[in-house]
Every structure is written in C-alpha cells, then in structure tokens.
Symmetry: none
Subunit: 417 residues, 2 copies
C-alpha cells in the first residue's frame, strides 16, 4: 500500500511557505494506520503537474494532491487533471449553488471567476467543501485513487477529515493502530520522563509505545498499541492521570480553555482577568470557546500603571514600593479585578515580556501570576526566557492551568516532587 | 536549470518533523537566484533512495540530498550512493582526524560507528562539516551535481552556506530571480484580481510574474522577475500601492500591528480597545510588538452587557433598543473607551462569533467595528461566516486595517470600486 502526497505551489519551493499541509496529512494518515511513502512538491506548471501525476500513478494506490485550485489565473491544475483523466470540465449545479450561497451569505457579489469554480472534471466525484469555494475531487484510474484538494489549510483539513480519510479507511483494510494522547502543562520533557520512568518501563514491557511531543509550555504524551489493545492503552492512561494531576490537564485535542470552561460551567462560577504583559491573550483564550459567555464577563487590560490604578484599583504606593512586576501588585490586580468585574475567580498577570526592559533583579521573562478565588488567593513567580511571543504563550497556559488546579483544589503552591 | 531537493527520513513522512530544511534551502537558493523545481521526501530505504536518485538525475542539473547520514543510519545512504556512482567507500584521514578531535574536545569516548563516518565514497569530494561528524559529499555524474548532507538543520545550514551555495554560484551562471511581496487585507482573491487586472496584464506583458497567496482575511501578492529586473519589480509595486491604498498595508514580512504601531509612534498618539467578540485579541495583537507600551495604555474586554454599561459607559437603553451587536452600541463603546482609557484612538468591536447565537436579522459572523479618533468616528458592519476562530481572526485584521486607514486619512466608508 503506497500513498503519495503531491503539494503544488511555487511558494513552497522558494521557502515562502513551509509545507505544513504535508506534515499534517502525514500525521493524520499515520494515526489511522496509513503510511505516506512519498511527498513531492512541485511548481504549478503544466509540465511539472503532469510529470508528478505520471510518476505517482506508477508507484501508488493513493495520491493526494493539494494546492493549485483557486479563483485566480495562476491555477491550471483542473485543466491538467482533465487531460490526465481524459475528461472535460462540466458545470456541477450543487457546487454552483454552494458557491452562490457562500457569496450571498457574506453579502458580496459573485464574479465570473467564482462561477468557474463550479466547473469540475466530468470523471470525478465531487467532495463537498463546506469551508470554501473550491471543491475536492476524487478520481480513480486503474486501481489508483487520486484526490485533489485546495491548498488553504483549513479547507484541506475539512476535506481530509470529513471525506478523504473515512473513504480511504472504508476502501482499504488498514491495520488498526490504537493511540491515546494525554496533555500536560508546566513540566519539561526530561523532568516528566524522570517522574514517570517506572510507569513508562512497565508500559514498554507490556508491548505498548510512548512518544513525547513537546511544544512551548506543553508536553503531549502519546500512548500507542500496534496490536489494537484499546483497554491496555486506557488503563495506562488512567494510571498516568493519578500520578501527575498537577500537570495532566486533558486528553486528545482538548485545550486548557475548554477544560477550565467545563469546570466553571459545572460549578456555575464566573471568571475575569486583569492582564498586563499578556495584553488580553488569556481572555482571548477563554472566549475562544463557544458558549463561554455563560462563565465569562470580561476583563481589564491594564498595560500602563495608570490603568492598573484606575481600572483595577491598585494602590499607587504598591506600584512605587514594589514595582508593576511584583507579588504585591498582581495580588492587588486580582483582588481589584474580582471586585470590579464581579466574578468568582480573577486571574491577574504582570511580567516583562521583553526583549527590552529587564534588570538584574527582574530579568526579561519574569512573570507574576495571581488567582483570587472564592476561598483563597495564590500567586507564583515564573521565569519564561527571552522570547516575547513565547513568554506570552507560556504565561497564558500557566495561568489557565493554575486556575484549573485551584478550582479542583490541587495544591499548586507545592511542586509535586 | 533545474534544482531538486531530496529529503530523506520517515519522521518527515509521518509528520513528526516538519520539513523546514527544504523551506530554508528553497529560500536561500531563491535569494541567490536559484529556483528549486522539485522537493521530494522519501523513506530511508534502498529502493526509495535509489528511485529518487534516478528520477532526479533524469531531470536536474543540481540535486541536493539531506538526511540519511549519521552514526546510526549512514550505512544505507552511503552504500546507495556508492552503487549509484559506481564507486566504493574509502577512509578519509582528514575526516577521521576531525571526528577524533570532535570527541576528544567534548571529553566523550568515540565509538566504532563514529569512526565509520570517516569512510566516504571514493568518487566524491568531501565538504568539511565543522558543525558535526558526518561530512558533506559532492558528486558529479553526466553534468549533474549531487550533494549529500546530514539532516541536522545547523549542520546542513553550515554546509550550504560555506560550501554548496558558493560552489553552485561559481559553477553555473544563474539568472537572478528578484521577488517582492505586497500584503493586502480586506479584499478577496477574485475581487483583487479583477480590480488590478489591467495592471497585472501589463506586468505579465513585460515578462514579470504575479502570484496570489491567500490566507484568512489576507492576500499576499508576489511580483517576480526571472531576469533580475529589480527596478521593474519595484515600479510595478509602487503602482500597486497607489491603486489600492485601502487594502495594501505592507510589504514582505510586515504585520498589521507593526505597521499600525509605527504610525502611532510617528504621530505620538495612543490607542485603546473595547472588545466584545474578540475577547482581547486585538489588544493582544497590538501588544505583540516590542515597545508597544509607548502607544498602548490598555483595553476593556466587555464580553457581557453589564460590563459594556459599567466599564464602557454604554447607555442601557441603547443595548435594549438596538442590541449588543449594532452600530449604535459599538459607537458608544468606542466613545466610552476613548474617554475611560484616555487615548487618542479607540477601536471597539461587537459581533456574533458563533457557531450559536445567530438570528435571521443578525446571522452568525455579523460583526460591527467602530473607531473613535481625534477628529471623527467611523463604523462598519461585516459578515465573516460561521467559523468562530476565523471570525475572530478576520475581525482583528479588519479592525487594525481600519485603524491604519483612519490614521492615514484613507476613506474607509466608501469601498474603492
């Protein structure tokens, strides 16, 4: 079983865009037991596309093509496909209706080039693209399946998840790989490995596999069983949850805003924020969840000291005596915000995101986080390094995980060592 | 002149590692006038490597290979290379000395596998790898150059910069590829294409090329000249700027927060936000820029109606009569925020991010944006579709571009049609 990805686009060849589509597809297919054997990136010219289709046809059962579809004139993919599959373009009324309603809903006029998107090769089966105007196209030629999709990542992902992967699984009998991913926050990869080494050894002894997938502020742990032993994977997962409750916040695709939101909903409690160095990012995270208005009232972005005093009732003397980035200030910010926003929980943060503004005493990356809750208040200091964007990202994740632990009554003041 | 990159490694095919090596190489080569025409990613098996070398040989003058070299896996790649170039492995004393000193300096014992790294194909010219133990290898076969490099990014980069690119430039007389990218916001790909079609036709007639690179809320336009005509590219760029000042906000890697921040700095003006559906994301964007405290004081996140009234002084009757998502409400939010935050410019937004909460009159994706400035206030309604995350992203970009236009005195009320 050979699977090939053909990525079309000059922007990929000259390094203007990194080919994350191919990685995402490779990972999704692997998770379903399907291994990609070739990824080929080419220019959107007649010769390059034709050549790639011919080579791919010779060596694969499945060929997934992305890019080269879109309303402007630099796209010739559909024409090449017609020639390759010996067919012609015909109007697809369903696609035309979809494209038309796409523009009507957005209150925008439709152009001739948009109508052209409803012209599809007669020999293909159209895969409905809910997220955009270029449809996916499924072809079969001498036992090889070819699927053409637009290169816009969220359109491609929609087509892969709703149409392509389910159809491939149905068409070909793949070996079933069982995997489950657990999400941790607030502990580095090597510390985590040390903490769970006994458990990991046992897991490997029983024939399961474990992968560490780190990203800034987070480590995902993926347990997998090549023999499809779902029960064993789940029981090791349960053990892990008991071992590291301070760090393990969720499973699979869950996010911290989702997990925290669910807890607040259950408890019928509300949350607000008073943010300095994160500039609103914590609240942006909390409100990224549909239905968050049930537990979110709003927040204060007190970037300047003046606004810390005016909006969050921080005492000017506290700022003078201890500075904006201090335990005293974040505690007053959280208390002021809790009152001003009339919420059960208030998160406050103040830090030096950098790259400028650090000192020996308070280096760039110093962040204070406080949480003022129904029963108690906590505060902690962190050092997140010199990268501005990364410090903001780490602060958001850390603050939300602190809130999760406080709501659940997990002691965050004492590290679990 | 055809150049191909062959990336070897299973981790790339299953999406565990994103192929940033190929992007980096593509960008570096493009900057030197060398355009990559194929990137091929394969598994480290005898068949896959041999097949890729044969195909690449047939269609290229230069083939750059990364990966498949290293103490644990260089067996197979080096053996395939020996077979392909009809040669055998011999000991290279210089490489052996380098590998030995590499371990001596780090006070680590050298293993037999490390000594094997000094065995190189007799037919190649060794490219000295200062950064690691696997050397680069330069082969020539029937007018095609093949270069094999390790896949570790900093080792590959060292070899490319110190050896490969200088040698290629010396060996081949490249035509210089010149490119410039212009960034637009607020106009779809097909509308943009229609608006600039006369200009685009002229550009193509003069032998330049144009690519449309869309992403949510934005379209990048890349002008390129294969003959290195920098002046022609720049003059078409200047014309474009004059044609669509409402949409064209920057060049190359610039971001809207950067562009807006620079304008505010120059004018010595300040900005604040009153955000509902974006939950702080506009302010998070503005404060992502280092030094933004010079023009940012802070913002109000008024997710609930109560906070719209309490923090931004919106009249409760306005909310009752027109609803939270209305022109009347966003204008009052902007005016209230401007006063409360004591800023020169205040952006306010209120919308239905969805996927729930829409009505016939105000469907999901309806967003009102207002800007209250030193001299006047403006407001506009948008329909951004049903995807929550995308609506937030589009709202942030649109609001920042509206602010840019207001600061520059570009009339945003009238569409430039």
């Amino acid at each position: 079983m050979n699977v090939e990805i053909i990525s079309i686009g000059d922007e990929l060849l000259i390094g203007q865009t990194i080919n994350t589509n191919a990685s995402w597809m490779g990972a999704q297919l692997a998770a379903n037991g399907i291994k990609v054997s070739h990824v080929v990136t080419i220019s959107d010219t007649w010769e390059a596309i034709t050549g790639a289709l011919e080579e791919a046809h010779a060596r694969n059962q499945v060929v997934l093509i992305t890019g080269g579809l879109g309303p402007t004139k630099d796209d010739i993919t559909k024409q090449v496909l017609c020639k390759f599959f010996d067919t012609k373009l015909v109007l697809d009324q369903n696609v035309l209706n979809h494209v038309t309603s796409f523009f009507t809903k957005r209150n925008r006029p439709m152009l001739e080039t948009n109508k052209m998107q409803a012209m599809v090769p007669e020999a293909c089966e159209v895969l409905f693209n809910e997220q955009g105007t270029a449809p996916g196209m499924w072809f079969e030629k001498e036992d090889t399946v070819f699927v053409s999709m637009p290169g816009v990542p969220y359109e491609m992902k929609f087509l892969m998840e709703s149409h392509v992967i389910p159809r491939l699984i149905k068409k070909y009998p793949f070996k079933k790989l069982v995997q489950k991913t657990y999400l941790t926050q607030g502990i580095g990869e090597s510390f985590l490995a040390e903490k769970i080494s006994g458990w990991e050894n046992q897991l490997r002894k029983e024939g399961l596999d474990l992968a560490y997938l780190p990203s800034p502020g987070m480590v995902k742990l993926r347990i997998s069983s090549g023999s499809g032993d779902r029960a064993r994977v789940a029981s090791f997962g349960e053990e892990l949850k008991q071992m590291i409750p301070l760090y393990l916040y969720g499973e699979e695709e869950e996010t911290l805003p989702e997990v925290v939101g669910r807890l607040l909903l259950t408890n019928e409690e509300t949350v607000g924020t008073v943010e300095s160095c994160t500039g609103g990012s914590i609240m942006a995270g909390l409100t990224s969840i549909s239905g968050s208005s049930a537990y979110v009232s709003g927040g204060l972005i007190t970037y300047s000291n003046d606004l810390k005093i005016k909006l969050a009732q921080v005492n000017p003397e506290t700022l003078e005596d201890f500075g904006a980035v201090s335990e005293e200030t974040v505690l007053e910010m959280a208390a002021g915000g809790k009152k001003e926003l009339n919420v059960d929980w208030c998160i406050s943060v103040s830090g030096i995101a950098g790259p400028l503004g650090g000192s020996d005493e308070k280096p760039v990356g110093t962040v204070w986080i406080a949480i003022d809750g129904p029963e108690r208040k906590v505060s902690r200091k962190f050092l997140f390094g010199t990268d501005r964007q990364r410090t903001v990202q780490m602060t958001v994740l850390t603050a939300l995980n602190m809130l999760r632990c406080e709501i659940l009554g997990i002691n965050i003041e004492k590290k679990q060592d």
